[in-house]
């Protein structure tokens, strides 16, 4: 997929390269932004900002890192800037953040009405931030450890450990409700 982009970049045809970059990366950039920002509208704004930065910086892209790695790093930086900007009002530890997330994501369908799903989302939000990001991204990216590692800029083993710890923690958190249900 990146072959055509890299050919254009090598030929100095940055505008043509950019025309291929957007469709190739827009969904993954958006999902990465969603996993970090937990807000659909903010993630879309961040994705747009990311591509504007990519567009400006593409002529200076030296190819030392893979294009995807470079784009995801820009995405993460853009999202972190957004988080810093909103820090006074939004906290990762906000117990209501899962509701805000779901409302912002716009899934006013069956899952939002399901108390089990609500509980699970609340438990996900109780996880440490990096585990939350890994879990969200893993299921958004069709369970691809490689995609999560690439997008979060982490080694594959780290991502596997994060996910393992996250799911193990979720199993522990789920036990009291199972016991109660029983």
């Amino acid at each position: 997929m990146d072959g055509g982009i890299e050919q254009h970049l090598a030929a100095g045809q940055h505008a043509r390269a950019f025309d291929l970059v957007v469709p190739a990366y827009q969904d993954r950039v958006f999902r990465l932004a969603c996993s970090i920002l937990k807000d659909r509208a903010a993630a879309e704004d961040a994705a747009q900002e990311t591509f504007v930065r990519v567009w400006k910086a593409l002529p200076g892209f030296d190819g030392r890192a893979a294009l995807g790695t470079w784009i995801y790093a820009i995405t993460r930086n853009t999202c972190l800037m957004e988080l810093r900007r909103r820090r006074p009002t939004v906290s990762f530890d906000d117990p209501d953040s899962d509701e805000a997330y779901r409302a912002a994501i716009g899934i006013a369908t069956a899952p939002a009405e399901d108390p089990e799903h609500d509980n699970l989302l609340r438990m996900v939000d109780a996880l440490p931030r990096t585990q939350q990001q890994a879990v969200r991204l893993f299921y958004l990216e069709d369970r691809s450890y490689d995609a999560v590692a690439e997008q979060l800029g982490m080694p594959l083993g780290t991502v596997k450990n994060l996910l393992h710890r996250a799911r193990k923690r979720l199993m522990e958190l789920a036990r009291p409700s199972e016991v109660k249900a029983a």
């Binding site: 958006f30 879309e44 994501i105 879990v135």
Partner: protein
Amino acid sequence: MNTSMHAGPCADYEHEIVELAEGSLAPERARVIRLHVESCARCRAWQSAFASIDAGLEKALPRPALSAGFAARLESRLATETRLGGRADLRTSAERDLRRTLEALRRGTWFSAIVGATTVVGTCTAGLLLVRGLAPETAPLFAAFAGPERATAFVALGAVVALGALAWSASRGLLPTLRLRA
């Protein structure tokens, strides 16, 4: 053999039970893990709990998609950035040209001032020498300035006049460095 439902799996099999569920285990190893799980209630319970959490996350975590207008909005934003960038480039270029022009003028003005001053001093001196040479009757006038004390007084008077002229020029912004500062 452990029979507790919530004590967790056997440590050696914990990661491989996950890999078995994800289908990423080598066939031979997968067969070993299956045999173990069949005979170990603790691992069987953990496998079941993992499958439940995994399926729950798959269903509960929202899968947002970019809105249909994303590409159009990005294009519009890039067009705006291009216009702004173009204006900024023009402004930068104009400012650079102005700076270069002012530098050239400043250098030229100083050069002209030095040449002018040298010319004036040279012309005056040549004039005086010419007058003395062509009109011998003016010799007493020149003799009045002879002698070290009178010469010093003459130089001091000249210096005062020169400083006064400079101060007058500076007060009206006529000196090149003051007038042409960017």
